[in-house]
Symmetry: C2
Subunit: 410 residues, 2 copies
């Protein structure tokens, strides 16, 4: 693993983010800002903090893996927002922040006294960003939402799962992290604009609306035939292509499969497949030569490939197919990925050293900057940066911080 050069690491150096987020959609957004070099200060209630801290695996002296994954590189400050003095401190911080992010339930930030109207008064340059489940003006705008609700209402589940079975929820948390990434983009664009104009703005994204962005290939199907896009199991929902799908490998475990795909736009892929599986005799055979014929005879096509894949493990199958210029990929499970030395070597997975959990292996920011990975720091302990942040942001001294602590503001 090569570290990116210092300048690349600090794309957002000097940017201050006031982070009032919890769980995942908001934290995944502010974590990326932190990775890119912004100073992200997570404001947490002194009584336990972000509920993401208490998710499965948490104990009195160990942070939940979920929290570590979504809060790397951040600072934590505990402030009681219900105490007038606490609220005032957060307002003072908002006056000095560049970005404000929150993903409370609908209406909660306004009830806390930190709605956009209030914060903009304090700081007209601020970029004020919000995640909600449903959009402003939607019939459901006051409804609660979590990842799976967004994936249901946003169409993702309707196109995932077996063709003959019920809808399935992708294991990927598109409703949360998928939404968070879109908000990062708008925040960065607004910061870029502000360098010239000095103007802040308000950004908001609904998790339901964000889902449409990720299923546009399914909308291309509906645009063509006027029908709901189908579920297609492991195959591609646009259909009309073969071979395309997963094939069983030795020794037959739950994830022992290899994906084999032949591009519509490259007819050479099929001939390459036939050579790899030792069926050169079928090159030119009219039952399989054209894509339409292969789709008609898909069961036969799939069976001849499976006959070959069943005799190999998925890594070997992927290697042989890939080297032959065929798009192919082994289905990897999270344990295999977690332990893959290639990811560690390339810095895609990195080991952070957390003060209470010890070494923890996690994925960092996947985009390489000048060929290197961005630095990764462990998620903060609750209130770990109280003194540091209040001194640096608000010019308080140690005695003032101690007094506030005694008064129960932290």
């Amino acid at each position: 693993m090569t570290d990116a050069n210092d300048t690349a690491q600090r794309c957002l150096a000097g940017v201050r983010v006031l982070d009032l987020t919890q769980f995942e959609a908001g934290p995944s957004c502010t974590e990326v800002l932190a990775w890119l070099g912004a100073e992200v200060v997570k404001v947490e209630n002194p009584n336990g903090g972000d509920p993401g801290r208490m998710t499965p695996g948490a104990t009195a002296d160990r942070a939940a893996p979920y929290f570590l994954l979504f809060n790397a590189n951040k600072k934590s400050v505990t402030i009681n927002l219900k105490a007038p003095r606490g609220l005032q401190i957060v307002k003072d911080m908002a006056s000095r922040a560049d970005v404000f992010v929150e993903n409370f339930a609908p209406g909660a930030i306004e009830r806390l006294g930190l709605g956009y109207d209030v914060v903009r008064e304090l700081n007209p340059r601020i970029i004020y960003a919000q995640v909600k489940g449903f959009g402003e003006g939607s019939p459901y705008q006051n409804n609660l939402a979590f990842d799976m609700i967004a994936q249901a209402c946003g169409g993702v589940m309707s196109i995932t799962g077996d063709p003959d079975g019920p809808p399935a929820k992708p294991g990927a948390t598109l409703g949360d992290t998928g939404t968070g990434m879109l908000l990062v983009i708008s925040i960065l664009a607004a910061l870029f604009r502000r360098k010239d104009t000095g103007l802040g703005e308000r950004l908001d994204v609904a998790m339901q609306d964000a889902m449409l962005h990720y299923i546009r290939v399914a909308f291309s199907v509906t645009a063509r035939n006027g029908r709901p896009a189908p579920r297609a199991g492991a195959k591609v929902l646009t259909g009309g292509n073969a071979p395309s799908g997963i094939y069983p490998c030795a020794p037959g475990g739950a994830n022992d499969f290899v994906y084999v795909y032949t591009s519509r736009t490259n007819p050479a892929h099929w001939h390459r497949v036939l050579r790899v599986i030792g069926r050169e005799d079928l090159i030119g055979d009219p039952r399989f030569e054209e894509i339409t014929a292969r789709v008609e005879n898909e069961a036969e096509v799939d069976e001849m490939i499976a006959n070959w894949t069943r005799q190999r493990d998925k890594s070997e199958a992927m290697r042989l197919l890939g080297e032959a210029g065929i798009p192919a990929g082994a289905v990897r499970d999270t344990k295999e990925l977690q332990e893959d030395p290639d990811f560690l070597r390339r810095g895609v997975m990195q080991v952070v050293h957390h003060p209470t959990n010890g070494p923890f292996t996690m994925p960092g920011w996947p985009v390489r900057h000048n060929g290197g990975s961005l630095p990764l720091e462990p998620a903060p302990l609750l209130g770990q940066h109280n003194s540091e942040v209040l001194e640096q942001w608000l010019g308080m001294n140690a005695a003032q911080v101690a007094t506030l602590q005694e008064e129960g503001v932290f």
Copy 2:
């Protein structure tokens, strides 16, 4: 639908993007830059252009819906990169561009003579961004990849599908658009930094690596128990929670389900469910009161909820549950979403008027800027902006453009 104010619309005003992308991962990235106000010039081969144009639904005089969805707001210039004069024109454009994006197969951009070493010489300020299937230094770095290969190798499929069935591919194109969004983020961060430093940089992201970013909740499971995260159908793969899942609604169609979720951190949700389904008698019942008891009796819990949902359509079920403060969402299919008047009214779906396809309804950028949606323009015809771009970027006059056209450069 309210349009955002002009300044918000033009976050990236003045930014020039030289776009050598095709299909989806690259185009989804440059499309977002275009939505945010950058001038994105798509360089296409004169002989058909981006193969995404020829995907299903395309005819001689109609663009494929797939192409329209991923290329809105861009300009198209046709240039024969194999002609020395064509290559020189692209190099001249690179000298004047802020961002360069490509997602060709591994090695192709270097063979074309437009690798980073060449382009950086021409323009040290350029942000040069690439999408590949596998990372530099990976054993698979020269392999071809498409969306489904990334979802297989990046762990997404292993955690999607029925617990007793094979892996499934999420209908969402995480491998493509999911990767493209992460690259947008790094491009914007690099542009932000460059305002101060004047330094360009090279960015690259592998589709396989990008998948890890979206499945971190699954990694939290592996971090806890050392095992591969499971598939969980419509349920949440972290397990240990009930009720949580989809419930069948009237009239029993393929997508007639409602998701009902009760948060681990809010015990009130369960009592609200009991009230909505008319089972207040079970409030306090030890078989169901605690989350651990409900998980043990999950089949019974699910059946009592299904008894209630089966008597209602999914919209009514969602409305009644949502109003009671329970996270709930109807499973919507792409036709329902495409035709939903709420999306059109709020500008989440917009109608563009394409010169050959006519009106086309598509989702725009889902994040609201100052409460409004960003402007949406139809994808370009092949070579639609040849004269405009060559005149504005390179100062050519109409006669020079005409000569190049005759010489077969366009």
